[in-house]
Symmetry: C2
Subunit: 339 residues, 2 copies
Amino acid sequence: MVTIGDVARAAGVSRSTASYALSGKRAISAEVRQRVNDAVLRLGYTPNAGARALATSQTMVIGLLAQFLEDEFAPAMLEYMLGVSDTARELGYDTLLVTDGDGASALRRITDSRMVDGLVLLNVAQDDVRLPVLRAAPQPGALVGLPGDCSGLDVFDLDFEEAGRMMVDHMHRLGHRELILVSQPEHVVERGGAYVWRLQDAALQQARLRGVTLHAVFGESRQPAVGRSLHGLLDTYPDATGLLLNNEAAAAALPTVLHERGLTAPDDLSVIGRYSDEFARVFSLPYSSIESAPDRLGRMAVRQLVRRIESETGRAEPYVVRFVAPELVDRKSTAAPRT
Amino acid sequence: MVTIGDVARAAGVSRSTASYALSGKRAISAEVRQRVNDAVLRLGYTPNAGARALATSQTMVIGLLAQFLEDEFAPAMLEYMLGVSDTARELGYDTLLVTDGDGASALRRITDSRMVDGLVLLNVAQDDVRLPVLRAAPQPGALVGLPGDCSGLDVFDLDFEEAGRMMVDHMHRLGHRELILVSQPEHVVERGGAYVWRLQDAALQQARLRGVTLHAVFGESRQPAVGRSLHGLLDTYPDATGLLLNNEAAAAALPTVLHERGLTAPDDLSVIGRYSDEFARVFSLPYSSIESAPDRLGRMAVRQLVRRIESETGRAEPYVVRFVAPELVDRKSTAAPRT
DNA sequence: CTGAAAGCGCTTACAG
DNA sequence: CTGAAAGCGCTTACAG
């Protein structure tokens, strides 16, 4: 292994001078800088990450905690992960991916051992057991997903309340008076998936306001249950003319279900989902949707995290809770109801 | 930060004794061991990962290189990633996720700086530019995907040749005499996605052997092109009675396409894909498929990698190239052709 | 503008 | 069975 000592010797300078020449942290004569750079190239020197971390207390790694729970939809998670990983790299950080079932103890392991400079948590629950660990950690943390208690952390999420209202208003404006809202499975709610009820409660309230009947139900997230459950709903509420989906798995399953029933959107049924444009493409989903902006949320979380990591003042800045405004991407799956 | 020095002082022993008590690498009196353990618990000590890495030259991290290319299908990649990450954790390793566009220089960065003890590469191409870098690295590497040159590396992949033959034979046995094989986009082939032609060539040969007409074509991987291309194929080969898919995006788009044409599998068309059971569930795909076993391949790669990392003899063992035998998962999407 | 030295927090021969 | 010391490869005050 070639060390900075080798570089220094080859350049005929001391190790400290070699180090400073590379970091640029103090003035170095042009000639010495040149000799050091030449030596680096000639020997193929790269600083040892562990040694640097030990000396500087900076690892240049951020931890990404992603939980892949049985009843959650993995492909949706991937988009957040890539947003985080790509942004981290742009800002000079590598990403330690943690997918442990037990997120709290994994988090403790990573933070206590100083493997990372900061953390991004995905899929954050109302009363997330990882948060007390994260608050107690010496590293700053950023969340994608709104918990009950945001203290001491930066939080980024879609404005699910507004998304719920938008869905209802859009349908109401077209003339719909009876709608079905399919949320995530009840398990997700029980586990504290706050976005489920944030969207649902707002939608229900808006429906009351507009005089619209809204049947709010929990969906499923795995085949074949998700398909069966959609069939059941359409059987149960035959007069509903619009379908709102806050459930990626249900959205992915809907084309098949509609096909099996011989229905077409928007002729027979108007449909609005809540997922990203990328998700729509990947799953060939022809339904209008509220853009969930996973890449943007991942970027925002990492940017803020790195700001806190890198600046003294950043550490002390007040914590932020930032909501992305929902946007409706029109894919022509809604229309006036059949009369 | 609490260090092993703090633990040693609290336990009234030297730092080396504290270290040995924790590692168990030499005999320690029961009483001292007890005092050290108590101190660890009381102070909440966790070893500093960077310091340990520096002292031992072991990071207990493996690097996972995943390339998300524009014309490849991300959700399929996720399954491999989780197989790797979960297995790594079981074996005591964390996972550094690298998703850089430029895989070769990212790989060099990770290996030169000694951030990882070993590497798993996904999505390996015939003439993968990352392989020379990996071979030159001091850490061992394992591949998921078969390159042209396997020297110096452990390689794991699905037996795509056998998969191609199985698809053709299965259809032939049911009485089909004209089939369409939809592969990945031509870009994937040009970039060296060897599995595309490994399956295709074997399928073509088997078709000749059986007297079956096989139209082998490149598909697309993004909406809306993938749907249009499937429509085009069904228009071009109206007499084909069976469809073989070596293209996850095409499989995901097929339900919608068949719906739009008013076709049903297997009544109007027999279909076999090549994807995992998990993928079938996630995308609600009702088609029989050759199991691509991403989790198993990820596990195998990590197991072998860790064996090489951890044992002296493991380092020296001959390199392996191991193929997973394809299995056909029957979802009742094939039948005798309509006469 | 440059160098000698201390220190980051571990592990592990070397001594006893 | 235990301790004092060296060393892993860096960075960064401290001196000049």
